[in-house]
Every structure is written in structure tokens, then in C-alpha cells.
């Protein structure tokens, strides 16, 4: 199994490096430009109080708020895109490419195949966040003396790593849809909708009092993208809920992959019946 896990990680090596490099620019720029724009940004707080910006979770009052509302708020969305791509590509993508048949035909239980792929996926997400966190921290160390902040370098590092549970949850949901849906593109579409609805749903429902009751339905509700994250860390209950969602999605992925007819590309309910009126297919 270790060999398969290493192989799965090797398959993701280029993606991990590519996504980490690509994503590094965003937090590095947000952190790096702060000294030049600190005064202007403080003056923009009145604009940021507008509901539209509130809905987007943006606040610029201090460096801590700036980093939380930009880096911590946006990086998980971007990593979630990778989570959707890799999560749906892991089972559905490989099945469509025909690569899964040889692996499934090996004397390995299917649940082990899904588990190894899920672990590799989780490690890949963690490594991307870690690399982004390291580069962001390096940029922070370079500008630390020019800004007024209570943050230390490890706060930024941990702040970004705290987003792993939510991207893992999106990854496992994508894995599940990959095992459930007949085609990868359908799985990716549904998983993307989940990410987008979760993000905007969480922000909008936090601004509209009548929607407050449905806020817990959106996964981004459980991501603390405020300056408070750097002081107290994420709430244990939020982390547990996100990891719980990831676990449930993983279990469903195992169950549906266990039942799945590899190479067929059908919804679960399209299988297992001998219809009265039939035609030959092949």
C-alpha cells in the first residue's frame, strides 16, 4: 500500500509544485504590498463597511484584518479549485481515462484503493497550503519591520494551515461525487457548485438577518477568516465539523466506489435490474 501511496503522491508532484508556486503569488503580493498601502487601506475601511464588501468578508482595519480577509479568505477558495479537480480526477478521471481498470483488477480491496487515494489527496492539499504558508511567512518576515502588527511569523504559517480542514472537506466531497456521478465533468460541476454556494452563501447569510438560521449549512461558515483566528486559532467545534464532513464524504465515496461498475459510467440507480424490455449493447 505504501508503494501505491508514494505513486499517488508522485502523480501529484507536479500539481503540488505548480499550484504552490501559482498560489504563492497571491498571499505574497497581499502581504508584500501592505507597507506601501497601509495608510490608504486604513482610509478605505469606510468603503469596506459597505454590505457588498462585508458579504465578501473583506475588512481592512489592521494588518491582521487585512491578511485574514485577503489571504485566509481567498487561499482556501483557490485551493478548493485544486481539491475539486484532483478529487474528481482521482476516481472519476482515472476511470474515464481507463487507468483504473488495471488497479481495480489487482488483489486489493476497493476501500483500500479509495483510502490510499484520499490520503494522497489530503497530503497534496496540505503540502500546497504548507508551501504557500512558508512563502507567505518569508514575505512577512521581509516586511515585518515596516508595519505595525502583533502577528509573528508562525501566526501566518498556522493561519494558512488552519484552512486545511475546509479544503479537505471539499476534496472529500469531490472524491465522493467522483465515485457517485457517471462522468467526471458532472462530478466536477456539482462539487464546484458546492464550493461557490458555500462561499457566497456563508458571506451573504452572515449579512442578512433573515438568512442567519441557514448559515450553518454553508461550509465557509466554519472557516474563521477574521483577525481573531491569529489570536485564538480556529474553534475546535468548527474544525471537528469540517473534518466530520470530510469523513462522511470519504465514507460515502468508499461505499459508492464499492458498488460502482468501473468503466461503465452510470448513476448508481441505473444498475442492477433486468428490465422487461431490453436491447443488446455489448
Amino acid at each position: 500500500m505504501l508503494r501505491l501511496l508514494l505513486q499517488e503522491l508522485r502523480f501529484r508532484r507536479n500539481a503540488i509544485i505548480g499550484w504552490a508556486i501559482g498560489l504563492t503569488f497571491l498571499p505574497a503580493i497581499y502581504v508584500g504590498i501592505y507597507p506601501q498601502f497601509e495608510a490608504e487601506l486604513a482610509g478605505m475601511q469606510a468603503i469596506m463597511d459597505l454590505e457588498i464588501y462585508q458579504a465578501m468578508g473583506i475588512s481592512l482595519g489592521s494588518f491582521e484584518e487585512w491578511v485574514a480577509s485577503t489571504v485566509i479568505n481567498i487561499v482556501p477558495i483557490l485551493v478548493a479549485i485544486y481539491a475539486v479537480m484532483d478529487g474528481t480526477g482521482t476516481l472519476a478521471g482515472e476511470e474515464e481515462a481507463g487507468k483504473l481498470e488495471l488497479i481495480v483488477a489487482l488483489p486489493i480491496p476497493r476501500w483500500q484503493i479509495v483510502t490510499v487515494k484520499a490520503v494522497a489527496h489530503g497530503i497534496a492539499l496540505f503540502l500546497i497550503l504548507l508551501l504557500v504558508a512558508i512563502s507567505t511567512t518569508i514575505v512577512f518576515l521581509a516586511i515585518e519591520s515596516q508595519i505595525e502588527t502583533t502577528l509573528v511569523a508562525t501566526d501566518l504559517l498556522w493561519g494558512l494551515l488552519y484552512t486545511w480542514p475546509i479544503v479537505m472537506a471539499f476534496g472529500m466531497i469531490s472524491l465522493f461525487f467522483g465515485a457517485f456521478a457517471p462522468r467526471r465533468r458532472i462530478a466536477a460541476l456539482i462539487a464546484t457548485v458546492v464550493v461557490v454556494v458555500s462561499y457566497f452563501g456563508s458571506n451573504l447569510s452572515s449579512q442578512v438577518s433573515s438568512l442567519e438560521s441557514i448559515q450553518p449549512l454553508f461550509m465557509f461558515h466554519y472557516l474563521d477568516a477574521t483577525a481573531g483566528l491569529f489570536e485564538t486559532g480556529p474553534q475546535a467545534s468548527d474544525v471537528l465539523i469540517l473534518l466530520g464532513i470530510a469523513l462522511v464524504a470519504f465514507i460515502w465515496a468508499v461505499v459508492f466506489f464499492q458498488l460502482r461498475d468501473i468503466t461503465v459510467g452510470a448513476w448508481p440507480w441505473q444498475r442492477g435490474k433486468i428490465p422487461a424490455d431490453t436491447t443488446q449493447s455489448g
Partner: protein, 302 residues
């Protein structure tokens, strides 16, 4: 009690409303080379995929080594080498990396260097990335992967597909040698000539249903007889018009018939025109196959 390596009973697979296979009863004995014949879409690949638990049966059961392919699939597959028909590999890996990974994922590992022996024999460069290999060379990778663990059962879906004639011969030699070493072989093929040479028995599948399973020799001798008569007097055109008989060629006094049934009646008719010579012409497996599919002479009798 017969020692069956593969057993299916009433095996049916439906893809939605479309039938893949229906009520396939198949028994393959230990040490046999069994050829599975049928055109594209007949159900060969579906049957093999059910055995490998790649897809699940809608009805019926499939066993390998007495173990249920679904419930005890891991234990059963541990003794099997498999070459899928629609082979797709991890393109970014070198062939040797793939073999090492594939070997490590087998439970009953045998000889960790046997893949290199096989690769050398098939003249496969294992240092190249799979995406750089031609279709034929990718097929070689699949062949090596199937044979590398010296399995007790080989399930091969079109093993010589995409290979040049020399390599087709090498693969067939490999099949023979593996069989002589005690392995059972279950393979599908469109190359009826290779099936005829290598197989002990064949199964013909049509429209998802197993039409027949016979020893190759029995099939070619029993299905129909092709007889050429030379007559003293040319018989009239309708002389041999009867159920179970098809006149395939006629050249003045020479008449060739394919006789499915009613040989005695044919002989009665023939003697009336004075038989000068009579010759039984061997029937190839290909002709038998086409007859089953109604595409060759005598198809109406299939």
C-alpha cells in the same frame, strides 16, 4: 469432480436497459487454454470484467478458483494475471517504474525480476516513459504486467491486438509455455487462426449469449461438413435443395456442399448422378465462427 478454475452460472449484466450478457454458463477447467470468440459488443469483455470484479453482475454468479468473484474477489484475483482489452496506462511513468509498482501491489509475489525477462523477450525498452511508447509497445507493457507474476490463471482480452505478426507469435508462444507450466488461460481474440492453434476449447458468444462451447477439433468437424463431389452427370440446380444443406460452388461436374444435417439423403441423391470422386474439405474455425454469425456460407443454419 472436475476442477473448474472459472465457473459462471446464469451470469447476466445489464447496462441500464441495454443487455451486456445474458445467462452465460461457462466452465473452464484447470490447465485449459480457452478461447472466447465473438465480434465487438458480443459480451466478451463484459464477461471478463465481471470475473475481475471490475463490473458487477446484474444476475447470476461468477467464481474463480471456487471463490465468488465479488465477495472473495481479492483472494481470487491474487492468482490471476489480467490484460484488459482497452488498455490505458499511467503515461508519466517509465515502463520499469510501472512494473515495479504493479509487482509490489500483488500479494503473492514470485520472481521480482521476471518482468525484465519478459520485457527482453518482447523487445520492450523499459527505460522509456509510457507516453513515448507506440500502441504496440504499450500493449507489450500490458502483456508483461499480466504475465509477470506467473499467475495460475491468465485472463487476456485481445492480447495480440496492436502487435506485429512476429510479436503476435511471441505472445502466443508465451501463452503456450505458461499453459505448459500449469496455468489456465482464458483469452478473447479476433484472430481465429491463433485461437485455432493455441486453444483446447472455444466458446462463441453472440448477442451476449453463449452459443456454444466445444473443443476446437470437435467444433471444426461436427458443426458442418464440406464435401466436394465430382459427378458423371451434372445434377440439376435444385438437386440438393433440402434442409441442412447449402450448395456453395458448382463448376460443371464439380459440386461443393456444406452439410449440416441429412448426410444420408445427400448421398442418396448424389449416387443417382454417378459419383466419380468425393472429397471432404477441412473447415476452419473462422468459417465455423462466421457460420454461427450467419455471415458465411450456410449462415442460415447458424
Amino acid at each position: 469432480m472436475t476442477d473448474y478454475v472459472i465457473e459462471t452460472k446464469g451470469l447476466s449484466v445489464y447496462y441500464g436497459r441495454h443487455r451486456g450478457i445474458l445467462d452465460v454458463d461457462l466452465n473452464i477447467e484447470k490447465g485449459e487454454v480457452f478461447g472466447f470468440l465473438g465480434p465487438n459488443g458480443a459480451g466478451k469483455t463484459t464477461t471478463q470484467r465481471v470475473l475481475m470484479d471490475v463490473i458487477r453482475p446484474t444476475a447470476g454468479e461468477a467464481r474463480m478458483f471456487g471463490k465468488d468473484c465479488q465477495k472473495e474477489g481479492v483472494a481470487a484475483r491474487d492468482r490471476v494475471g489480467y490484460l484488459p482489452g482497452e488498455l490505458s496506462l499511467y503515461d508519466n511513468m517509465k515502463a520499469r517504474q510501472f512494473f515495479k509498482m504493479y509487482f509490489s501491489l500483488q500479494k503473492s509475489n514470485t520472481d521480482p525480476t521476471y518482468w525484465q525477462t519478459l520485457a527482453d523477450r518482447l523487445d520492450l525498452d523499459t527505460t522509456r516513459k509510457i507516453r513515448e511508447l507506440s500502441r504496440g509497445n504499450k500493449q507489450k507493457v500490458g502483456v508483461v504486467a499480466a504475465f509477470m507474476n506467473k499467475p495460475e490463471l491468465l485472463i487476456l482480452d485481445e492480447p495480440t491486438s496492436g502487435l506485429d505478426p512476429l510479436l503476435q507469435q511471441t505472445v502466443m508462444e508465451l501463452v503456450r509455455e505458461t499453459n505448459q507450466a500449469g496455468a489456465t488461460i482464458f483469452f478473447s481474440s479476433h484472430m481465429l487462426s491463433e485461437v485455432e492453434v493455441v486453444c483446447d476449447r472455444v466458446g462463441i458468444i453472440r448477442d451476449g449469449q453463449l452459443v456454444t462451447t466445444e473443443r476446437v477439433q470437435d467444433l471444426t468437424t461436427q458443426r458442418f461438413k464440406r464435401v466436394r463431389f465430382k459427378f458423371a452427370t451434372p445434377p440439376p440446380a435444385d438437386a440438393f435443395t433440402q434442409d441442412g444443406v447449402t450448395e456453395t460452388t458448382r463448376d460443371e461436374q464439380d459440386v461443393t456442399l456444406e452439410i449440416y444435417e441429412g448426410l444420408d439423403k445427400v448421398m442418396e441423391t448424389a449416387v443417382r448422378f454417378g459419383i466419380l470422386d468425393i472429397e471432404t474439405i477441412p473447415v476452419s474455425l473462422e468459417e465455423i465462427f462466421l457460420a454461427y454469425y450467419g455471415k458465411g456460407n450456410g449462415g442460415s443454419h447458424a
